[in-house]
Symmetry: C2
Subunit: 348 residues, 2 copies
DNA sequence: CGTTGGACCGGAAACGTTTCCGAAGCGTGG
DNA sequence: CCACGCTTCGGAAACGTTTCCGGTCCAACG
C-alpha cells in the first residue's frame, strides 16, 4: 500500500505539501505550478490512492448518506431510488441502502448502524408506512440533515417531500368527470396512511365543483395493511364487493395503482371489459402501469424528481452544518400530473 | 464525543483493557467478570460508541460490501436486492448501492469509488448487460471477493450465480406442449445476452424430446437493446409482426416476462383473447407477473435466493482472506421453477 | 538599511482505535 | 526455594491522513 509519505519521498516534498496539492486545499494557492506538477507526477507514478479511513478519521467526514426504505419491494421505491442515486453520484456521495421491512426493531438497529458510520445525511422513503411516533423521536435527535419522502411531516427538524395529494385527487376525478362519468366507484386508502385523507379531500372538492354527487354505497375503504401486494388484493376484493351490490357504475377511482390493478382484474373476472364498459384510474404511475393491459390511466407522482429533490435538500443541509450555519427543514409539495392511457374512456 | 479513553478513565482501567472487553477479543478470556462488568457499565453510562473511522483505520476493515447494479429500473433487480440486503443485515454488513446505468464510464468511476472505500466484497447484478471484456479485467484485478448475478462466467476469480436457463427453457416449452399446444410462436432473446442461447437450447431439446417441430417462420428474434422497457416494446412489435404473417399459432413463448407482457398487449390489441385464444408464457417471474391481467404463467428465477446465495459466497470469501486462505470462485446454477397462472390454458 | 508581508514549505500534533510487548502478581510443581 | 506458567493489566506504537503553527526566503517599501 502506497501512502502519502511515499509520495512525499518520491516527489522530494513533505507530506504536508503533498496533501495540500492533491486535495487542492486553499493553501494550494501558494504552491507553484512546478511543484504541483512534480507531486502529481509522483502520485501518478506510484498509483497513490488516499486511504479513506485515515482521511475520514481526520476530517470527520464520510461522504456517505444513508438511505432508508420501508419496503424495497414496493414499486413506488425504485424510481425514487434511481433519482437519489443519480443525484448523489453527481455530488460524489455514496448511498448506504437499508430496507426496514416495516419493522420497528429493524428501523432502530439500522439507524444506529448508520449513525455509527457517521453518515452525513439521511433520506427516508416512507411509502406505505404506519409511522410510529417514537421512531420519529429517534430521528429527530440524530441531528443530521434528514429528508423524508412520501410522508407529510410537521416537524421543523426533518424535511419532507410529498406529492400534492389534494390536487392529485382532484385531477383524477376531474378526468373521469370530463369523460362523462357520473356513477363512479371509489376505493379509498387506509385511514392510517397520511396520503389517504388529502387525496379524498381533493376528490370531494372536485365533486362539489362539478356538482357531482358521491354515492356512499359506491365508496369502499381499504383496511390497514402492511405491504403493497396487499393493496392489489384489497383492490380486487373491494371491487368484487362493489360489483356484488349490483349498483351500476361506469368508472373506478382507485387509491393507487396497485389497487387499480386489483380492480381491473376483478372487473375482467366478472366479465366487465376495461375500458369499454368501465374505466379505471389509479394513482402513482408505478412502472407497471405503462405496460399493463390495458395500460393504466393514472396520476403520476414525479418520483425520480422527488428523489433528486430530497438529495438537494440534504446536501444543502450538509453544507450548512459544514459552514456552521443553522440547518432549517424545508417541506416541499410537488405537483402530480395526469397521465392518460388506455384504461379510461369516455362513457358511451 | 466520548472516546475509549473516557471509558478507561471512568472505569479505572486502561484503554487497552476496555478495547479488549468491549470487542470481546480473544484476550477477554483472561479478564475477570467483575472487571468486565465495571467497564461495560462505564461504557453504558457514558453512552460510548466506538468511532468506526478509527476502528477501520486500525483494523483495515470496513464491514461494507459494494452492490453494483446495471439498471435499477429493471424489475429483475428488486427482489435480488431484497435478498442481498436481508442476508447482509444478518451478517452485519452494510451495502453501498451503485447503479451503473449501463454506462461503461460510470462503471469505472463507481468501481474506483468502491475500492477507495475499501469494500470487503462486491456483488454485481448483471441483468440485461452486454458486458464488455475490459470491464471484467478491472474487476478481476480488484482482488476482493466478487460475485456476479445473472451472467454466466468462466473466470475462476469471480464467482457467479445464474439460473439454469436450459432447464428453464425446457420447462416452458414442456408446459405448453403438455397443454396440447403444437403451433407455438417464439420470441428469442438478443444474441448478445448470455441468457439467450442456453434458454433456446433447452427449448430445442424439449422440442426434440416431444417430437415437436419448430416452425422457423414463427420464431422472432429480439435485436440488441439496452433497457428492460425496450424488451416490452420489442415483445409487442414482434408479436404484431407474427400476427401479420397470418400463420396460425396457439401460444407464444416469450424470452422474458417483459416481452411476454408486450405480446399479451399486442394480442389483445388484435382482438385475440389471452388465454382463451392464445396462451403466453414468460420467464423470470418479476413482481408484475402475479398482478397482471391475466396473471402470467412463467418460469421463475428464484431471485431472492440468488441474492442470498451471492452474499453467502462473498462472505465466505471475506472470511477466507481474513484467515489468509486461498479464495476460490464458485459458480452456482440454481434451478428455475414453473409458475402456472392464468395466461396459459390447454388448447381447445 | 531595517522592517514588513507574502510566497513557499516542513515538523509534529492530532483524530480514536487496536494490538504488540512486557510487567507484575500469584499459585504450583519440582 | 526457584522457576515456570497462567492471569491480569498498561504503555506505547502503530494505522495514514489533515492541519496548526511556525520557519525561511525574497521583494518591496519607508
Amino acid at each position: 500500500m502506497v501512502t502519502i509519505r511515499d509520495v512525499a519521498k518520491e516527489s522530494g516534498f513533505s507530506s504536508t505539501t503533498v496533501s495540500i496539492v492533491l486535495n487542492n486545499a486553499p493553501l494550494a494557492r501558494y504552491i507553484p505550478a512546478a511543484t504541483k506538477k512534480k507531486i502529481e507526477r509522483a502520485a501518478q507514478k506510484l498509483g497513490y490512492r488516499p486511504n479513506q479511513f485515515a482521511r475520514s478519521l481526520r476530517s470527520k467526514r464520510s461522504h456517505t448518506v444513508g438511505v432508508m426504505v420501508f419496503d424495497m419491494t414496493d414499486p413506488f421505491c425504485t424510481l425514487i431510488l434511481r433519482g437519489i442515486e443519480n443525484t448523489l453520484y453527481q455530488a460524489s456521495y455514496l448511498p448506504i441502502l437499508t430496507d426496514v421491512h416495516n419493522e420497528g426493531s429493524r428501523f432502530e438497529r439500522y439507524l444506529e448502524m448508520l449513525l455509527d458510520r457517521r453518515i452525513e445525511a439521511l433520506i427516508v422513503i416512507a411509502n406505505w408506512v404506519f409511522l410510529d411516533i417514537n421512531l420519529l423521536g429517534d430521528l429527530e435527535k440524530s441531528s443530521i440533515p434528514t429528508a423524508m419522502i412520501g410522508c407529510e411531516l410537521k416537524t421543523d427538524s426533518i424535511s419532507s417531500i410529498i406529492v400534492d395529494n389534494e390536487v392529485g385527487g382532484h385531477l383524477a376525478l376531474e378526468h373521469l368527470h370530463s369523460l362523462g362519468h357520473r356513477k363512479i366507484a371509489f376505493i379509498r386508502g387506509p385511514k392510517a396512511l397520511t396520503d389517504s385523507s388529502p387525496r379524498w379531500r381533493g376528490i370531494r372538492n372536485c365533486a362539489k365543483q362539478c356538482d357531482l354527487e358521491l354515492d356512499p354505497r359506491l365508496i369502499a375503504d381499504m383496511p390497514e395493511s402492511r405491504d403493497p401486494l396487499a393493496s392489489f388484493e384489497l383492490g380486487y376484493k373491494l371491487t368484487e364487493d362493489l360489483l356484488r351490490q349490483k349498483r351500476p357504475f361506469t368508472a373506478v377511482l382507485a387509491f393507487d395503482d396497485m389497487s387499480a390493478f386489483g380492480a381491473i382484474r376483478a372487473l375482467n373476472k366478472a366479465g366487465v371489459r376495461v375500458p369499454e364498459q368501465c374505466s379505471v384510474i389509479g394513482f402513482d404511475d408505478v412502472s407497471t402501469s405503462a405496460i399493463y393491459s390495458p395500460s393504466l390511466t393514472t396520476v403520476r407522482q414525479p418520483m425520480e424528481a422527488m428523489g433528486t429533490s430530497a438529495v438537494g435538500i440534504v446536501v444543502d443541509g450538509i453544507n450548512a452544518v459544514l459552514e456552521k450555519r443553522e440547518i432549517t427543514a424545508t417541506h416541499r409539495k410537488v405537483a402530480p400530473e395526469l397521465v392518460v392511457r388506455e384504461s379510461t374512456r369516455s362513457v358511451s
